[in-house]
């Protein structure tokens, strides 16, 4: 806008530069910087505080958080509601398992190292995402949502039939091996002189994994790409008229989100071990949607909180169910409900109650808390 600069009225404020850079920074306020630091430090302390079963839930939670972030990219930021996330996670899971897993009488596997199978899973999933993009260009809202749901069913069919890759229904296969620089995360033992049990190793690795992808996603979100996504979401006609290529960015959104889904799938089942095609159904897609809605749409930290919430929800409802009086701990028989039915019901109820109580999600709650002391209520 050189011409404008010539105008006296429009001369830019020289000193401002640094402040813009700062303004755009990842952690643009000292408050943010401090809280993030605290979070991370705490994160690394957790494995020495929690019991193994909780640790594993947290580990899986952090891994699925990456998947949730991916879904948030396409659905939260770009506004393309996808019920097909399970499909992309599945593609990633099987790519990872085939590349990094071992051959058996039933399934193929190439025992490749993690630095190949993890990115590989992401890339293959992203390619699958590229294929969906064009649909997104034609379809809107729920039509797109159900079509992506169609993907899940078609995918499920393929997963069931491609037995040499997936092991087939009711049988399944193992995920890839978990070796990072020769350290086997499936074994316990000492790392750098530190005695670490399997769960602790996996937790720490998952934490790193999450941090890396969270930062990548944040970069996307604050860059021109992320802005273009939001523009497409808020008003696609206007976006096109000011120069945003709708096709390009819708496709890009799906590809990126699928990449995140892919790596999630691969790592998740590497930690979990055995999995079978039934895993990648409507339910999984819905769970991820729930994660971002409960966490907070179009926020990275929200995705993480949501994923953690869902991860621990089962355990939480279990704990509550067990303390409710007058409920048989037995499997069938007496009582109005068995503890397991109560547990399942609580799972549903918690979701309902939560969303009614705070439609803006955990992120909304977090904002309220922050705004309270921050005293600046206009920042949502």
């Amino acid at each position: 806008m050189t011409t404008i600069v010539r105008s006296p009225r429009l001369r830019g404020r020289a000193l401002a530069t640094t402040s813009y850079a700062q303004d755009m920074g990842l952690l643009n306020t000292p408050a943010k910087r401090r809280s993030t630091l605290v979070m991370v430090v705490l994160g690394f302390l957790v494995p020495f505080l929690l019991t193994d079963d909780l640790l594993q839930i947290a580990t899986l939670g952090m891994i699925s958080a990456v998947g949730a972030i991916g879904l948030n990219l396409v659905t939260g930021y770009a506004g393309q509601v996808s019920l097909g996330h399970a499909f992309f996670i599945g593609v990633g899971a099987y790519t990872g398992a085939v590349l990094g897993g071992s051959e058996t009488s039933l399934v193929v596997g190439y025992d490749l190292p993690m630095w190949i199978w993890l990115p590989g899973a992401g890339i293959v999933a992203a390619l699958a995402g590229l294929l969906v993009g064009p649909l997104a260009v034609r379809l809107r809202g729920l039509y797109l949502a159900i079509v992506t749901l169609g993907l899940v069913f078609l995918g499920d069919h393929v997963f069931r039939e491609a037995r040499s890759l997936t092991g087939g229904p009711g049988v399944g296969r193992r995920g890839p091996d978990l070796n990072v620089f020769g350290i086997d995360l499936r074994e316990s033992g000492s790392v750098l002189g530190l005695e670490l049990a399997r769960e602790q190793r996996q937790f720490l690795f998952a934490l790193l994994f999450l941090i890396v992808f969270a930062v990548l996603a944040r970069n996307i979100a604050r860059s021109g790409v992320g802005r273009a996504f939001s523009a497409v979401r808020d008003r696609d006609v206007a976006a096109a008229i000011i120069g945003v290529d709708l096709t390009k960015y819708k496709v890009m959104a799906f590809a990126m989100s699928s990449f995140f889904a892919g790596v999630t799938g691969a790592l998740y089942y590497a930690v979990l071990g055995v999995f079978d095609p039934s895993a990648f159904g409507l339910l999984m897609s819905i769970q991820y949607l729930a994660m971002i809605l409960i966490g907070g749409v179009a926020t990275i930290s929200g995705s993480i909180m949501g994923a953690m919430f869902i991860a621990f929800l089962g355990r939480l409802s279990g704990e509550i169910a067990h303390v409710v009086p007058g409920i048989t701990t037995g499997s069938g028989g007496g009582g109005v409900l068995t503890v397991f039915q109560l547990e399942a019901i609580l799972y549903g109820l918690l979701i309902i109650v939560f969303l009614i109580f705070e439609p803006r999600g955990l992120f909304g709650i977090w904002l309220r808390i922050r705004n309270y002391w921050k005293g600046w209520p206009f920042s949502y």
């Binding site: 009711g170 049988v171 399944g172 999995f275 037995g330 547990e343």
Partner: protein, 406 residues
């Protein structure tokens, strides 16, 4: 952080403290776990009675004074896996330090999902499924003939008693259960010189149109089904509606008494027979009797029968481990599980059915029971032919699982 996992120190699940509200307060307590399908999963209708029966069984054991100075507690560690390998695994992680053994782990891929950890922890388990692969796993304590053998016997019986001579179609779920059964059917078909066709059909009564029309297209005189009850009934109903007059034999999980109220009832009475690992709920043996007494008035269901019968093997193992030096520890349980010569099933199964000492080809139990529909019977079926090992299964060289899971 909590007790180190992966460690197999004998403590896990075995204490000298009495059980919570113990029957025999001066006994120690052995905690057993059960991971089953208790709410949303596809096998819940079967798994709930299975689990109930097992609770009743171990309660009964305590009534009778416990095992080797211990009472048994199952109720504290029952978990719902919704027939989902992932949840199955999680639930195991939650209980792995606290249980000495698994009184039930339901489903094949589900059990596979924890098998490695079980080995690492020296935990043995009773499977709630009749997969032939379990015969080859020392820490899995199966009972009764596998889906595979069950199928061989079913076919042999049909050939002998129903004049089946031309063609058999095996239709069932894909995977562990259907696959294992189909493998058995194939062997038997070959042995009996029958033409053999395998079909896979998905769960869901609304999804059986394909199976039905394909079967009709094949025009077999025997159909061997390995699905759930709903699918079986739909298929048989559909076949009858289109004038099918041959024989239908189903694996044990294909029957549910409620089907007698369905539109398919007449067809079932005319065509359907059930191959099973043991006599149905109403059978007259001490074991069955004990079970019925223990359960009181419940809607009869052969899930109960299965849960009860499966438990004897674990009881026997506990007793055997108690006699080893060191008494009942995880290690001794694993050891004992591998060297059982016989199990007292109180007549539900022959004693030698429980043998695990030696390689599967000798020890695997090969007899099944064939039942026919009988509205007057408690679970709608009564024994047509008692424990028999057909010619096929008797000659079968059992060196590897009929249907590999790995």
């Amino acid at each position: 952080r909590g007790g180190d996992s992966g460690s197999s120190e004998a403590g896990g699940g075995i204490t000298d403290e009495p059980c919570p509200d113990a029957v025999n307060p001066d006994n120690g307590c052995i905690y057993l776990g059960a991971i089953s399908d208790l709410t949303k999963g596809p096998f819940a209708p079967l798994a709930v009675p299975i689990t109930d029966a097992q609770e009743a069984f171990w309660a009964q054991v305590n009534e009778d004074g416990g095992v080797g100075g211990y009472d048994i507690n199952l109720t504290d560690h029952i978990a719902d896996s919704e027939y989902n390998p992932e949840l199955h695994n999680r639930k195991y992680q939650e209980m792995r330090d606290d249980v000495a053994a698994l009184a039930q782990t339901l489903g094949s891929s589900q059990t596979l999902a924890i098998l490695e950890d079980m080995k690492a922890d020296d935990v043995i388990g009773v499977p709630a499924s009749w997969n032939s692969a379990w015969e080859f796993e020392d820490q899995i304590l199966e009972s009764g003939a596998s889906y595979c053998f069950e199928a061989m016997n079913g076919v042999d019986w049909a050939v002998a008693e129903r004049g089946v001579a031309n063609k058999v179609v095996a239709v069932g779920y894909a995977g562990d259960y259907g696959g294992d059964a189909a493998a058995g059917v194939e062997v038997a078909a070959e042995a009996n010189g029958l033409e053999y066709v395998a079909l896979e059909t998905p769960a869901g009564q609304e999804n059986q149109t394909g199976a039905i029309s394909q079967i009709l297209g094949e025009q077999p005189d025997l159909v061997y089904i390995s699905t759930g009850p709903a699918e079986m009934a739909t298929i048989v109903g559909g076949l009858a509606q289109n004038g099918f007059t041959g024989t239908v034999v189903g694996s044990s999980p294909t029957w549910n008494p409620a089907l007698l109220q369905s539109a398919a009832a007449p067809a079932l009475e005319a065509l359907y027979f059930q191959a099973g690992p043991w006599g149905p709920f109403g059978t007259d043996t001490p074991g069955h009797q004990k079970m019925r007494d223990a359960l009181g008035d419940v809607t009869p269901n052969d899930g109960y029968t299965a849960g009860w019968a499966w438990s004897y093997a674990l009881l026997a193992t506990l007793e055997a481990a108690a006699d080893l030096d060191g008494g009942i520890t995880r290690e001794n349980l694993v050891k004992a599980a591998g060297e059982l010569e016989s199990v007292d099933y109180e007549g539900m199964l022959p004693e030698d059915a429980g043998a695990t000492d030696g390689d599967p080809n000798e020890t695997a139990f090969r007899q099944s029971v064939i039942s026919r529909v009988d509205p007057s019977a408690p679970t709608g079926v009564t024994i047509e032919q008692d424990f028999t090992a057909g010619p096929t299964v008797s000659d079968f060289d059992f060196t590897e699982p009929c249907f590999s899971l790995q």
